[in-house]
Symmetry: D2
């Protein structure tokens, strides 16, 4: 199901489908059918009524635009849905109609439907993140010795490996995926409380019905209804926010590395990606743009959700009523970013030669710290620093290699041989713990797969 045009850059198709009209309607009907079955199971609702309700609950036969209008009027999705279902049941069996939605309140069906949608979204989201992790792990292993500039404040800095860079993304995303998966696990709970959240109309059978209903729907049964305690959902959307922050960081890095002047990596081009209507030669960072778009959109959406947590008493005025579009946007935006970057990671072009060239273009300046430390040992820190700063300025002005210029200074070449100075600028020799860090990051994410 293709997304609405207004959201075409903000969701993948599978997630557009999860939050589509038919999917929402089915989730609400699933609740009502399962409720009747659960209540039939504990002897409240006649078995035949439950069957009638099930038979009437065919999503394809409902008038969705009418439902939509009714929801706005009622201020809740539950009332018009129940009304429509009851009418359909009544048309077949007037007695059975009375058992529709028995003991439940309108927020029960709306909230549980949302949870059922999230249950469907979980494997999509977590799956895309795992696909991305797998691709990053492969990239990191493949490029464990691929040298590239470190960049701090977007200025050239001592070298890193592309393997380490990929492992950094991987580490953050692995942590993010685990948090997100746990948050799903916690949030996938039934909502069922009736009018005031006590299941009063079910007398002593409330908890039995709740357990049976949860089981029917494949959800956990919480300690109590949570109509005005939205912390589990809040935690879930926050985990989306944190994961998308990490996705945004990866996308920013790749889009920077794709700049014409840097040219170290490129997104895969396939299937409509990366073109330009006016500049046919361009290889644009399209997937990165989509991931960054998500990273722009989500923080505010998380704030919207958090601000709506302040709900009144047993059912609030305006808080939960605000949630559906917020949750859908967050989940879809997270998925759009994850899926886009999975595609990127799987097909990324890496130009190792350009990476090395960009290192050598710095004329050794990125090793200034290293030179400094060595010179400091010979000349004392203050003398060394002064000498080095002067030479660096000269190196920049004359576009010449720092080591070569230093080697011409008497203060230096009286103490350090040319070959020592040359060694200072071999990037492989100035990687410190890069490989140890890389391995530890890769290892930290390789276990503890999400369950769904």
């Amino acid at each position: 199901m293709a997304p609405c045009l207004i959201e075409s850059l903000a969701t993948t198709e599978p997630l557009a489908e999860v939050f589509s009209d038919i999917s929402i309607l089915e989730a609400m009907l699933d609740f009502e059918v399962a409720l009747a079955r659960a209540e039939a199971g504990v002897g409240i609702v006649p078995k035949s009524a439950a069957d009638r309700i099930r038979a009437a609950a065919r999503a394809s036969e409902f008038d969705i635009p009418k439902l939509s209008r009714g929801m706005f009027r009622a201020g809740t999705p539950g009332i018009p849905l129940v009304k429509a279902l009851r009418e359909r049941v009544r048309a077949r069996d007037p007695k059975a109609a009375g058992w529709v939605h028995w003991g439940a309140t309108s927020q029960d069906v709306a909230d549980t439907a949302l949870v059922l949608l999230l249950k469907r979204a979980r494997p999509i989201l977590v799956g895309d993140l795992e696909r991305l992790e797998k691709a990053l792990r492969a990239l990191s292993e493949r490029h464990q010795t691929t040298l590239m500039l470190g960049r701090t404040l977007m200025q050239a800095a001592p070298p890193v490996t592309f393997g380490l860079k990929a492992a950094g993304w991987l580490g953050a995303l692995g942590r993010g995926r685990k948090r997100l998966d746990s948050a799903f696990e916690e949030a996938l709970v039934l909502q069922f409380g009736g009018a005031s959240g006590t299941l009063a109309s079910l007398a002593k059978k409330g908890t039995a019905v709740a357990r049976a209903l949860a089981q029917e729907l494949g959800l956990r049964c919480p300690e109590a209804p949570w109509h005005t305690h939205r912390d589990r959902l809040a935690n879930l959307v926050c985990c989306c926010g944190v994961a998308t922050g990490s996705l945004g960081k990866m996308a920013r890095d790749i889009s920077l590395l794709m700049q014409s002047e840097v040219g170290e990596v490129a997104e895969p081009g396939g299937q409509g990606r990366g073109g330009s209507s006016t500049m046919p030669h361009k290889r644009n960072p399209i997937a990165c743009a989509l991931a960054l778009a998500s990273a722009h959109r989500i923080p505010g959406l998380v704030a919207s959700f958090l601000s709506a947590m302040v709900a009144e008493h047993e059912r609030g005025v305006g808080g939960w009523q605000s949630e559906w579009p917020t949750v859908a946007s967050i989940v879809q935006s997270t998925g759009s970013a994850a899926s886009s970057l999975a595609e990127v990671a799987e097909g990324l072009s890496v130009d190792c030669a350009r990476m090395r060239k960009n290192i050598s273009n710095t004329n050794g300046l990125i090793f200034a710290e290293r030179v400094m430390m060595l010179l400091a040992g010979e000349l004392g820190r203050d003398v060394a620093q002064k000498l080095l700063e002067g030479t660096i300025q000269k190196s920049i002005r004359q576009n010449q290699d720092l080591g070569a210029m230093l080697a011409q200074l008497p203060e230096v070449n009286s103490r350090l041989t040319r070959s020592v100075l040359r060694q200072l600028e071999i990037p492989e020799q100035y990687l410190g713990s890069a490989e140890a860090f890389r391995r530890a990051l890769v290892k930290s994410t390789s276990s503890n797969k999400g369950k769904r």
Copy 2:
């Protein structure tokens, strides 16, 4: 056009229509058609090609799901739209196809389409706000002497009039509507810059085409393209945010006044509003809930927009690509709140007797400040304060009238007559400048109607 279910509580129908697939598609096609006409007008594009383009630009004949998928792949709405249009033109006239989108870039059509949607949204939004203002003005006039409790920190306080309360809402909303209308005025500008925002491919004819194109579309022509300068749109969404904050304040007040224990006003019930699936007697603050839902959702959405303003160079990576759903949600949420509260204001039940009863239920405690001031003149502030505090505690414990209790105290009745004390508790006599404020507020909003 009924909204999607996921947004059924978040938009009105007219605004759902503005941001619907067909509306978006038409707006984009309007740009392309007008562009060809404008370019034909200045002699760039053959008149016949412009005609062909117009003929091919029938929204109903486009494959919208395919466009949607293409937009996600391309990372922009413009590319697949232009491609589809060009194919349709080519099928009729291959030469004309080459003139489609001449000189424009994909963001030109996407941005201008968004502006055209906003142009359509403007009279809806501003109109609903004006309807609300009108109703509030009437409420304020009608209730200029209707006494009710002031409430500070949700505690009973000296009286106000309901006319003043309504005028307070009116004042804020009038200011908000004016700001919003000005922001629309500023934001409704053409986007047209070509690849790098210089209209290079139109050589010296760029500005002439721009002017003609703006005129075709009924938009103002800005000083320059604004692909990465989103301040006008930002200001517009901020003004939506501010107006919705004021709408939320009004909705909060009304929902508080509708509490069973307060019972001073009630939303009109009509047409599916206010019912409860489990409690048929309830008159729920449904419209207020919708307005408050908007007030919860919008601040975060405004943040999403503002954070996306930081755009790179001539066209950004991820900023503007994030905007469409954000802008649509903000405009629709604002409209949902404005329209809901217009309906409320037009049909509000006001229970003046209950208002007066809630005043008298306070046993005169809300006049303590007044008493204090009078006693302070007689006894000195410190003595008076001590005496008063003691009597207040007693009045609360014994649920008796403060004035009556004071009248029994020798320190008091030796100085103040019973009738003076009784007068202290006449709410009409303790309204200060309420009416002056009310009038000034009403007057401040009665001029300067929005133009559209």
Copy 3:
């Protein structure tokens, strides 16, 4: 240490102290001292130099305003701190000065200092939440049979117990505290990476120094530096956001229950709380106002943090530089809310009689659902509903008891005895699973104390 006036409503004193100038300075110096010691331990820095550095690192002797100005100029807290420390060391031992900050980068000291501050904040925050939980547990147990109105959309609804209400707060806050505590556990990690995050200048000794440094500081040593991977901190601030959402919900409830017209609970008044400058008799919901203020402020601050996660390469431009005030505000606001509500929960006045009176004031209307279910069994749902709605309207108009009015109807009293009808309005008999839910909630939070 009293907070700045601008933040006087936004933090507790202990948390103001955590983020005070002297505390920040000490945390930064702790890093530098521990670094020198750790490097001395693995044989990089002379033991005597490490001692000199320790001796020079007396926070009280630094010029804090000068540091502050230097930080703004340098765009990082690290550079001026290191410069000032080095100067102080140099004054005693020029050689030792060269070893200050050896191998580290300025963000290492800034980030680790932030983590050390968070380590100090943890027991304060978690402790206040536990204090609150304890008080809520006691309230819930004490009031397990205290009946009160349920309220949905702020309208009277079937009864609940105050014990259940308190348990609902407790459940959400218990979950929130556990998530927060885990997030602290995850976030309290060393930052140490040197210029490009490879510890290149320490050659092969990087990881050994990192481990020793982490141990010196009582922090965990992460897999790798995280200069541009801020997900652990993001998760922590999100958990603050979620917990504060739940605190806001509790505060909203209490402030609503404290309304003059409701009067069911009251905040404890003690020590400057709750007064009014103009209305001496008022018992204002001051602590609730502070908690709600936090709940208003935090969602946006969480968004600020999340949006800053998109950091460039090895060290970002503008992301982490934005974090300090955001993190401090979030932690302090959370603490202000938690501490305020702990005080409230410990001293809350509960007016059980008023709660019961507010139930009886509804004239039995809140049992309409119950009556409906019973009548539906006798008369069929549709007939029953019509009958009931009519009677309810009459009951409201005439301000009379619903059950009594129903008992006068022939359709009803032919089928149901007066005593059955009377029983319908006994709130104790319409609590459903309230007590089961209460117990499950209390139980769910009684284990798994936070460790610190």
Copy 4:
């Protein structure tokens, strides 16, 4: 006054001073003194009492930490301030003490103090923005013919001029400054309403006192008190948000242009700016980092403010109590960004040669659109496009000039002469309306200076 360390990267000194303890205290005292004078003027308060109050209102003699603690306890800054002032007056003249804060409520002094601080912030903020505009205007004029790459999605695109780029920043900031200045104008209004916002205790003299008080303080007198109508402040913080978005865009551009691989501009280095603790040669984008930090922080803060607008009745619970730190952070962050970028614009190094070199490094690919248009006229669009795409791929692979390669193709050189092809790659000839846009932008901001 140097900022607190926690905010050292988030404010300038002058704005730290505006929101400092002493400044806040003075603003509150200014209100109380002016109130007494205004009330003396209309004959309510004895002239001598007003004099005593003025004499007692010396900020330097107040115990600020005690005030801060009292504010947290009282949940409002007003109560402890008034108490302390009254005590000081009483010590001199017990009768005069009773006239302190006469007729006002605690929020009156808190809100008016905030407005007075904003009045002091206005010329600082607007002044820095004007300084920035002036520098940008000069840059734009100086570089009206300085050619540089356009960059879309961070890929090389047809050329622009640096003059146009600077004018784009200027245009957005000019609009932003005007909006901000108007928002200040609107927001600088007195708050004065007494307990319920009716000035009841002043009987009929309320509005006269209000007018006199506003005049004393140099503020406008609004139609009515606005304790729970915060739209004017909301609009002001939104305008800060929009302006900072534009500042962030400029900072992003400059930091991208400063990348080692791009090297087209550099921030001025002066006075502690731009160094690195580990890499002494670096010229870091420090001011840009500070501006971007503000741009990260502010959107969320704006959301915090907007969400707090939903205030209850005559004085709210938790909304306005949340505002002070939010407003201060927004104003300070805006000022930090504006001041940092003013410094940048005034001292920016522009490397015109490097700009041109970066153009020529693209081998003419950025003129592909131009070539396409020409070829399309000769060969038809489809043939031309195919031919061009092939040649572009070859040009990239062989790192050779596109025009030169095209000139070797028979299809091309049979139709276009070498010199025509060479002309295609002259950037000066492909600037379209760049200069027209530049001039229009410069002109649009050169009038309408902010008044203060």
